[in-house]
Amino acid sequence: MKVLIMGCGRVGAYLAASLDSEGHDVTILDIDSASFRKLAPSFKGTALLGDGTDEDSLRKAGIEEMEAFLALTQGDNRNVMAAQIAKHIFNVDRVICRIYDPLREELYRTLGLEAISPTTFFADLLKERLMRGAK
């Protein structure tokens, strides 16, 4: 699968390396070149300097041929905007967007974005662990 990841933080870099090692064609985009140090040395995909909320940068990153786009920067709003550009301007098949704020996540889900809130996801996981330990 051809995948474009926006945001080379811990999650972005880990996911990029993991998909790459499974033979997927991965491009990762970040506005800070220093962030690419987080990529595993074995990463064979493309690391590209650019702003994922800008159509031209996305086009340069090859978004028109991508089968999936993931918005994983630290900024909820940046993710929301980039994801909507990918979905509504470039018609990428699969668009997933990280939104920390659970309320915004819920709203954008109702607006048709595939949004994931690590906040609720992780809190639920912790709760489950905690309750299992309590028994």
Binding site: T53, D54, E55, D56, G75, D76, N77, R78, V80, M81, Q84, I85, H88, I89, D101, L103, R104, L107, T110, L111
Partner: protein, 219 residues
Amino acid sequence: MYIIVVGGGRLGYYLSKALLSQGHEVLVIEKDTVKVERIEEELGSICMQGDGCETAVLEEAGTERADLLVAVTDEDEDNLVACQVAKHKFNVPRIIARISNPKNEALFKKLGIDVTISSTNLILEYIGQEVPAYPVVHLLELRKTKLELIEVKISAGSPAVGKKVKDIPLPPGSLLILVIKDEDIKLPAQDTVLHADDRVLAVTKIDTEQDLRAVLAGS
């Protein structure tokens, strides 16, 4: 009207000041405490500290009774989200977003933000009006339509020179509404003849602007 202004920078400050003096009820939402203090000192308790993109903050601000929300932070993505949350979560009837990247104008429209103000485009348009080589000036996009008001300068080499209005092959949906010759203005009739250096105001469909430009101004 109850107006919420998201972003208490310089633009938000002057905008709120003007809106207050027009008698509106104004609330500014600003993240930075220093800016909040400055606004409160100068304009009174009209400012709330918080992130205007957060549903909880907008709820506390009473956004569901707002008549208008204007998002004027420096960041296009923040303005987009503040407007989308206001529109879809709180059903605010009118929303206005400030845009820095002119490309975002089309995107925001596509995402349901009806009114966008791009300072970059505004300045570009003024440059266009000041530079005589530019035959078409966009004056106004007519709200809730795909129509716009433009000004076209008829140059000596224009295909419309010496022609009557009825003989100019205007694209469908276009209308000439005013002919300006120096300081004189005239409603164009069917047999009004256009001359070089006339300026013509026209309403046209945005899609067919190029065609209108071609018949009036040449390429």
